[in-house]
């Protein structure tokens, strides 16, 4: 079981290095898709299945799809990926950096390992993550209202930043 976790975490680091090393938004967003998927897998192993599903739906299915459409609007005819040597070199450099920092901070490969367990202080009827979401709607109602208001302000901010064709802040598309 720990072997599965090792695989997932290895893929996570690889995907993060891909996000950081690619200059083109297409491949970087692809790395981000991989990272988000693996992150959902890690979350499931730690017991948050509901949250993982929500993350998959909203993050990948909502935000990354919108990002893919906007990146397609700013089309790059020759995107630079891992095929070109500078990008590959940067990627290997990041991986090397992560591995060296990891070796610096860990004692050895076989002494200790992170057990996967569903951490919760006491016994509960429901799973932790679902109970948390339910609490947000019941006793955390004020925070929910605050979150709603902040999202509305975010909408106004984004609309103000992209207002008009060339009057706006961003490039006129």
């Amino acid at each position: 079981m720990m072997y599965m976790m090792y695989f997932l975490l290895f893929g996570l680091v690889l995907g993060l290095a891909a996000v950081a090393s690619n200059p083109s938004p297409y491949f970087a967003a692809l790395g981000l898709v991989v990272v988000a998927g693996i992150g959902c897998g890690v979350l499931i192993w730690h017991g948050g299945s509901f949250l993982s599903l929500i993350l998959f739906l909203i993050y990948l299915g909502g935000m990354l799809v919108v990002f893919a459409y906007s990146a397609a609007l700013a089309a790059e005819p020759y995107p630079e990926g891992w095929g070109s040597w500078p990008v590959l070199g940067l990627m290997l450099g990041y991986l090397l950096g992560v591995v060296s920092v990891g070796m610096l901070f860990s004692s050895s490969m076989y002494d200790e390992s992170w057990m996967v367990c569903d951490e919760f202080g006491e016994f509960y009827f429901v799973r932790g993550d679902m109970e948390g979401v339910a609490t947000l709607y019941s006793s955390g109602g004020f925070m929910l209202a605050m979150g709603v208001w902040v999202l509305l302000v975010t909408l106004f901010v984004v609309l103000e930043l992209t207002r008009g064709m060339s009057r706006g802040t961003l490039r006129a598309v």
């Binding site: 106004f156 103000e160 802040t169």
Partner: protein, 348 residues
Amino acid sequence: MNPYILTILLFAMGLGTTITFASSHWLLAWMGLEINTLAILPLMCQSHHPRAVEATIKYFLTQATAAAMLLFASITNAWITGQWNLEFMSYSLPTTLVTVALALKIGLAPLHAWMPEVLQGLDLTTGLILSTWQKLAPFYLLLQINPSNTSLLLILGLASTLVGGWGGLNQNQLRKILAYSSIAHLGWMILVLQFFPSLTLLTLLMYFVMTFSLFISFKVNNSTTINSLSMSWSKAPIISSMVPFILLSLGGLPPLSGFMPKWLILQELTKQSLAPLATLAALSALLSLYFYLRISYAMTLTMSPNILLNALPWRLPSNQHTLPLAITTSLTICLLPLTPAIITLLTL
């Protein structure tokens, strides 16, 4: 900008600071900081000028990084200690990370590089909001946490005073000078944070008053370079005669009120047997004093050569609201005798 949008954005800025002030949970404090960052973005790129847009992007990136670091540190603290309270952070890693994240948020050296460029891209009013209001929430958080490492805050403070002094020396753009002056003053505030937090609050409030008067004086003159200040003696003679006092107050000279925070901080540092540090900080204030004196030299102490017509402009009645400027200028010049009362008020 549409007045409704402006109202919502200003309200959101007030809300963000209020949420951070009212919070004892790290998530809520982070939320308040993010609301503040978000709400000021359209205000910053109001003019839609490329430099303003670039300044907005730089500001957003640095503040988002700082907020992400803050969230990381608070979640690490929650993981280790199991609680989310602001005041009870007892492990050194999260506390240090929080301090560094907040230092990036307010622009302390060596995390100050974004400040001059961001302020240069903004108009004077938005720059004023950035220099004053946006510093309130991070300072509140800095005052709440127990510092983990004594030398971290001292290094941040001393580096900021030195960088603020040396960085402003070769500038002739007023907004960059104001940015470096802000960095230097923030350095003074951080120096005394772990010994006498009320002095940090005092320095912060005094800095707000002084920099408000300076920003508004420059705005009344509608000048953003030292060169354009040189004809202000004919346009607004009273303001030209008061600005040297504001600048010398910022430099920390007695008997002006800017001397008050520096004096008390030096006294507190000496009491904590950090006399060499106090000496270094006082010497670094000399650097800042040089460029304050240069501005007052160009503005008031000399009359630059010009044709006679420019020396006699029509002095039409102005529509500018100068009451805040009058109030803050008076406070900047005359507040020193009230030092005991102010200290008592802030130490309650």
